[in-house]
Amino acid sequence: MTLRNLARAGLLLFLVLLWQLLWVRGLPDYVLGPVEILRHFVAALGSAELYDHIGASLLRALPGFAIGTLLGIALGLAAGIARGFDQMLSPVIFLTYPVPKIVMLPLFMLWFGIGDLSKILIIALACFYPTFINAYYGAKSTPTILVWSGLNMGASRSQIFRRIVVPSAAPLVFAGMRVSLALSFIVMFATEMINARSGLGHLIREAENSLRFDLMYVSLLSIAILGYLGDRLLRWTRHRVLAWQGEAA
């Protein structure tokens, strides 16, 4: 185990070292060496500007994620247990699932303005689908035996829903949320690159236009760290909430 960890660390170190050496040998302007990137990143961490952009981005991604996942979980669970609702809603959802949701952005911009609202709503729309589908399948695949035994022991409908359906759907719901979280960052970044006056996506566009490669890499590194931390946080929550379930991929 330790040997394997050593090999991993070695590979990583080797790649970074190779990159640095290549950079020293001379790469095009738009490729910075790892040491340079780190230096610029640390410098940017000391300035308020980066935090403003990060704050603006998070204020778009997180509300969108919250709205989208909450709606997705609620409607997905509802469609999973109520047949009439399922037959009405699910075909529409599954039919529009492979459609790239980002194409709705121009329309949302018309309806809700070019400010933050249209961005939050498009992020919510993108986050809705994975959680809906996972909550739907999670609720649908609740073992019938469990529902029967709950009924036999005199549980009410709401008790069955709370104590049986929700816990058995929870692992899939978390899997859906994980996909949604990654999507929320992607869509946030896309909307900010297309039109925004703040945020990391805007920062990277601005840096690109003014050939400030250092800022480009700072923005890139920030979004990478944010995405990674969000994913870790979600996995940690899942671990806490689903303690009875073993570790999953």
Binding site: P106, I186, I194, R205, M216, I223
Partner: protein
Amino acid sequence: MTLFLQRMLVGLRPFVLVAVALVAWELTARSALWSPIVFPSLVNIGHEFALFVSRSDRLLEAWTSLYRALGGFALAAAVGVVIGMLMGRSELVAGLLDPLFSGTYAVPKLALFPIFIFVFGIGSLSKVALVFLECLYPIVIMTYHGARGVDRVLLWSAQNMGASRTQILRRVVVPATAPFIFAGFRVALPIAMIVVVITEMISSADGLGYVVIYSLASLRTDRMLAVVVAIALLGLALDHALVILRNRLVYWEKLETYYV
């Protein structure tokens, strides 16, 4: 008779929501409460869509987007399946690459696009490269997952019957992994479309994403919505084609989907 009516109503249920939405849209468009730029009538959208399908220069834009999406996807499929297989069948490769893939999984690769523009130019290549990168992850992860979980008993019995390593790979590992590979493809294909449209919206002079942004900028929202419909239909058609291909190749395992 009532039973028949009831059955018909149940059969029509899937269309209720769509019908209600379309009628509400048309009523809003006709109500003149909003400008036709905000809510163009369905008739105009339909007209623009017919124009879109019948004009060759517009179809060329669709083709541009399609070949970017499919090109990146095909590359990712070829490379991703090989990497996933290697990771699934070799402890060493998995140990080296797994942290790399799971560590950067949640990072939006789209952030690399400005750098890709500098490296690969502003044309198709930077877009194809980004599609490749975004599609690679789901394909690798699903293939890895599948190849790792090949039933050990099957491998042992193949070995016992004297199968060579290549035979085991071809006859046991690949078929056992195939459903997972296709599951990865199915996640990756819509991603390919998304990435192409986004990158074309950000910086391009051709492709469907560009037409969307251009129509919006010239306040032709009916045209924009017609293109949105075209993109949606294209995404649906690609998904259907993939499912049909999958059911042909992986005929021994039924795919559980809602609408196919």
